[in-house]
Symmetry: C2
Amino acid sequence: MEKPQPEEIQQRLARFQTDLAAHDLDGALLFQNADIFYFSGTIQSSILFIPAQGDPILMVQKGFQRVKEECPLKNIIAVNGKSHLSATLRDFGIRGVERLGLELDVLPAQLYLWLAETFPQCRFVDVSLPIRKLRMIKSLYEIEQIRRAGAVLHQGFTEIQGFIKEGVSELEIDGRLGFIARREGHMGILRMRGWNQEMTYAHVLSGDSGSVVTFLNSPHGGSGNTPAMAQGASFRQIRKNEPIGIDYGVGINGYLADQFRTFVIGELPPDLEKAHQCSKEIHQLFVREAKPGSSCPELYAMAKDFALRRGLGDSFMGHGEGQVRFIGHGLGLEIDEFPVIAPNFEGEIAEGMVIAFEPKFVFPGKGVVGMEDDYVVTSSGVERLTLTEQVLIKLKP
Amino acid sequence: MEKPQPEEIQQRLARFQTDLAAHDLDGALLFQNADIFYFSGTIQSSILFIPAQGDPILMVQKGFQRVKEECPLKNIIAVNGKSHLSATLRDFGIRGVERLGLELDVLPAQLYLWLAETFPQCRFVDVSLPIRKLRMIKSLYEIEQIRRAGAVLHQGFTEIQGFIKEGVSELEIDGRLGFIARREGHMGILRMRGWNQEMTYAHVLSGDSGSVVTFLNSPHGGSGNTPAMAQGASFRQIRKNEPIGIDYGVGINGYLADQFRTFVIGELPPDLEKAHQCSKEIHQLFVREAKPGSSCPELYAMAKDFALRRGLGDSFMGHGEGQVRFIGHGLGLEIDEFPVIAPNFEGEIAEGMVIAFEPKFVFPGKGVVGMEDDYVVTSSGVERLTLTEQVLIKLKP
């Protein structure tokens, strides 16, 4: 099984240790799967202690043999539940920890309160932002995984064209995309950091489904086929001459690619076809203008201004209550990584970031059109990682 | 779109309010999707305040129109983010809240700390246990949804027999099961309450894959095809005369069914076939003995003793580090509901509980065999909800 190189994990740890020292922390205790995988190469049930200086300790609660195969760290200890945490740290001579980093954005309150009771001398500091900022810059290895995930998406978008027909349900298309993804090696989930933000592999939204507003922080939501999930595909049957918007995600070795294409059986209404063309032009503008140092709010404003000049302000990135205030987001082990190309995300893009850029337009009662592609920021600009041609995909009735 | 009856939601709320009063709480603030759905019929981005007496208030952050269609509650208020929480409660004349219930098992620490700062006069109490205990007893509506999910599983287990052939990868079978599930209306995710416990729709584990230990709290884990996911199907090709264990989950209107069957192309080695037969006999024993009032630890002990007497103690519910100490779990909106049929889960089964009962045997290097089925506890015993015949499914080479 493939895994990240030990040197790369060492570099990630070294950079995080520099951060810890800069924040005057004695170390950090990490619990969450994606973060533990990033710093150790395994997601087996573990607690990872990263001191500001010295070797980390991975305390394994289940899957010990597997951790030994997957993880290059020196100190791997089997522990019988979290109650052994302080004894284990003591055994390693770690005492007097006073300022400790935790992932407070994802750590359940119960676990936090247990830590507060177990380490009464400790002051806990949220290290989720430093971790997310560190993870924002991808290595060549990470970029390669996202490129491979993009190749699976392209396979799916190509193969599915033979199945999109009048009368087929959105759910059947969704299922086929999932089948293709798994057959090609999709790891089976799309991780998302935001709590209560749930996802399916694909959103298949035909006609008015594309303009249904839902809880998801996305310009389109879909009805789903039950209020209990309330997003994505439904039993609605696909018709001709309406937009079929497909958002599709795949993970390879942990790393996600995320792409959206618009299909139509026959022809789109002219206003929707114009909006789709505008999405393509905003992509071209992004490729022309984005480079290391470009400000995220300015990239967002540039795209929005372009849409406004085309008279598409009302449908830009959603409609009404469903309108969202971003046009792109980072991608990596989670689908909602930094940076966010948004008015309130102060910061600049930098070499090594991977960004899903998704200018989309939503027309109430008619649907969603646009394209989403993943780009890596290079030393001089951005390069597209996803492969599918940037066109409205027209199918014969 | 189908939804629970308003009367049923009112009954759930009334029961929870009795609990709140009994715990001397002024009310509870709920945030998590599954809990909010249970008490309101919607999962749109909301905060639900349930006072110990009087009408609940659903504060909606996104998806307001949709909530109005989905939710029968009287007080539905649009709020602009959680910062409006205390003002909204004040507007409703709710003051002097001193003891407030929260879902501390799932609520992120950051949100908990924000609440502690916003309501400095409040003492917070974990209400996750009362909620989970309440949700443990299912209504006829809930049981019917699980039965329907079971029918989809049966469709999948039937249809997949035409695709299980030598040389086909586990991932391809997994993908096809996902396709069938979605086509038939599976809602697209399996919710799990346990933090960091992730799941795919299916586990397809052929031969030695079935004995790979992983972090998941399950007798079988599988290798997956990457350490980043580390469970379930891999690119391993299915061979003849080896067990192919398939664990399969589906959700209909929020409610999950969970079933496991063992397939073989040709014949199983005799020791594995014997163990499979033992799984069937443990099911028969369960059906004979389990009834309202049966103790969970005793039901577990009865099954374990039976396996021990057959000389199968080493492979019962996993092998070595992978052995788990339960044989069944509750099912509902989450796949890890109460009760747990386990030595350390003090309590009795009661009418209306739905239990996935899963005697399985794991043989290192050889694989996993057994069967899992879902049962509802009736007034006098248990009744099977899942439909697939309780046999080892033999396919022709």
